[in-house]
């Protein structure tokens, strides 16, 4: 057996049936081994598309995502997806071909030190130097990507190792007994919970990574604790939970941010006090003691000190918290905040109001639909105005904020969950960053619905230029965009364009009932902004809203 055949055999042994990639010189032996193998390879039209398809596959299914590319530019094109997976703790395996061992360091054709490049954007990375290491390294890589705090792992395989003799040998992981929280810290946490008056649960992506939604909801229903979520956690708290205040942070809801600012205990469950969440850090939840639950000890105290910390798998730590009942007065206060600051969709004028459209779209989707998005204003509108019943149904590039994420992520999601509706919501800026993946959708006849929210601007940057850069609109005008419906049609994808509010219902109906992929191009006013907004350097209760921003002289 060759090394390349061994790679494919190990993927199959590990239950990996679907991979994404793009061939090239230094990975040709592996592509030869894939030919007629039981592992299905999906060809994307750019290696970055393969990386994000693997991320979408992983995030929508909870399984390992696998992508592959050749050496040099193939490998460098994967790097952005690795960085994205690193920031969002996504289990990902990247396999790259490398020039033959003897040529490494000679500046050979398509040679890049991908191992060196991977150091800052992977959980771990390997270069295989000997054939006998190939099997153990691949198995260890697959294990590492999915264990503890998940993340991307890269395996770089020189071409001579792929072509040389290799044999399978099993690799056994160290005993992975579930990490248990320290008893003293559990007692301290329960003491803090029993003493607090105004608790808030601050929920992050760790709940999905730990597959701990059931334990979380059990805790919330027993305690009736108000809950706020990060972008990545949306869906972890089910929409029927009455004290679900939605997203907090820079573009979070007013009720969510105010409740956190007023709380006296913040129960952080698998979150990391990211700067988009906290605003001015020392003014964040200024009266709160923090209990921090995370599997990664390095997150405890990294940004905000914790009075108690439970470093463990959330499935193990959540059930150890006492189920006291939250003070009814505090619950009533939080409910009143939620009512007072509920989203409004009474938009003046006749143009399409994107938040209202997305809210209507959300209401028409079944609970198991997957919504992907890109990065910018539309991403925040999706987070604010659509509802999710599980975090695997909302795929949004969080930590890295990578434009171009949405279309390939939707491809991966559709392949992972072929029976579920998959949509991607994009902007006119983001969609152009991986537009070539329309060819992947067509090639595989993937039923992916695409909504392009088009304000002919790089809208989020334009919004900041308006608010913080004296309306100097540097390089954010995209009024020379292509005709997106015509563009989709060139790729064999049907679609339509709408410009008025009164077209929304029919257009959503046409898209959702269409057979196969569909692109809905939605033209909106270029002056529509995302509200509320916590301006840079401010505390989260100093939100700018549409109303108070218009009061400015």
């Amino acid at each position: 057996m060759t090394g390349a055949e061994l790679v494919v055999q190990i993927l199959a042994r590990e239950g990996i049936n679907e991979v994404f990639g793009y061939p090239g010189g230094a990975i040709m032996p592996i592509y030869d081994a894939l030919y007629e193998s039981q592992v299905t390879h999906y060809l994307t039209r750019h290696e970055q598309g393969a990386g994000f398809a693997a991320v979408g596959y992983a995030r929508s299914s909870g399984k390992l995502g696998v992508c592959m590319a050749t050496s040099g530019p193939g490998a460098t094109n994967l790097i952005t997806a690795l960085a994205d997976a690193m920031m969002d703790s996504v289990p990902l395996l990247a396999i790259t071909g490398q020039v033959p061992t003897a040529a490494i360091g000679s500046d050979a054709f398509q040679e890049v030190d991908v191992l060196g490049m991977s150091l800052s954007c992977t959980k771990h990375s390997f270069m295989v130097e000997r054939s006998e290491d190939l099997a153990p390294i691949l198995q260890q890589a697959i294990h590492l990507a999915q264990s503890g705090r998940p993340g991307p792992v890269l395996v770089d395989i020189p071409k001579d190792i792929q072509m040389g003799e290799a044999r399978y040998q099993p690799w056994l992981a160290d005993d992975d007994t579930q990490l248990q929280p320290c008893r003293d810290q559990v007692n301290k946490a329960n003491q803090l919970l029993s003493e607090c008056q105004r608790p808030v649960a601050y929920i992050g992506g760790g709940v999905q990574a730990a597959d701990a939604q059931a334990q979380l909801m059990q805790f919330l229903y027993k305690t009736n604790m108000p809950a706020v979520q990060t972008l990545k956690a949306l869906g972890s708290v089910t929409p029927d939970y009455e004290l679900n205040l939605g997203m907090l942070g820079m573009h979070g809801g007013e009720a969510a941010n105010l409740a956190v600012q007023q709380c006296d205990l913040l129960l952080c469950i698998g979150a990391r006090f990211d700067d988009r969440v906290t605003g001015h850090l020392t003014k964040f939840a200024p009266n709160a003691q923090v209990i921090h639950l995370d599997i990664d000890a390095a997150e405890v105290g990294k940004r905000k000190p914790a009075a108690a910390s439970l470093v463990a798998d959330l499935k193990a730590s959540l059930p150890q918290l006492h189920c006291f009942v939250t003070e009814p007065d505090w619950c009533a206060h939080v409910s009143a905040l939620a009512k007072q600051h509920a989203w409004r969709y009474d938009y003046p004028g006749e143009t399409v109001y994107a938040p209202a459209l997305l809210n209507k779209l959300s209401q028409r989707l079944s609970a198991d639909a997957v919504v992907c998005c890109d990065v910018g204003q539309h991403q925040m509108w999706v987070a604010q105005h659509m509802q999710f019943s599980h975090p695997s149904n909302h795929l949004s590039s969080g930590g890295a904020g990578t434009m171009g994420f949405g279309l390939p992520a939707a491809i991966g999601a559709k392949i992972a969950r072929p029976n579920d509706m998959v949509l991607t919501v994009s902007g006119d800026g983001s969609i152009m960053m991986n537009i070539q993946e329309l060819a992947t959708i067509r090639r595989n006849n993937l039923d992916v619905k695409i909504v392009v929210i088009d304000n002919q601007r790089l809208g989020m940057v334009r919004q900041w230029q308006q608010l913080f850069f004296a309306e100097r609109y540097s390089e954010t005008n995209l009024s020379d965009n292509p005709d997106f419906v015509a563009l989709a049609r060139v790729f064999g994808i049907d679609g339509q364009c709408i410009t008025h509010q009164n077209q929304v219902d029919a257009a959503l109906g046409a898209m959702l009932s269409s057979k196969g992929p569909y692109l809905l191009h939605v033209c909106i006013d270029d002056k529509d902004n995302v509200w509320p907004l916590v301006p840079p350097g401010a505390a989260n209760d100093q939100m700018m809203t549409q109303a108070n921003s218009e009061e400015k002289p």
């Binding site: 191992l115 060196g116 150091l119 800052s120 959980k123 990375s125 390095a298 105290g301 990294k302």
Partner: protein, 80 residues
């Protein structure tokens, strides 16, 4: 604040690159470095300087697959 750290790493050059990258990226200035190859491991002693608490670095280093152990000692209080 200066701290001395003793590390045992997997005996691979990339393990050294990997831990030094973390030291730099997490905001610690490297002021001394000793490295000795000992069979399976690299034995490493470094001195770092930063205003940040040292646990912010040791917790990140402990996450690295190639790092087998990290121990620290505070060396001196820097004159302010």
């Amino acid at each position: 604040m200066k701290h001395s750290l003793t590390l045992n790493l997997a005996n691979q050059t990339v393990a050294v690159e990997r831990f030094l990258r973390v030291v730099r990226h997490r905001g610690f200035k490297l002021t001394a470095l000793e490295l000795a190859s000992k069979e399976e491991d690299f034995a490493i002693k470094i001195t770092v300087d930063s205003d940040k608490p040292i646990y912010l670095l040791t917790q990140q280093l402990n996450k690295l697959v190639d790092v087998h152990s990290v121990t620290t000692a505070q060396l001196q209080q820097q004159a302010s």
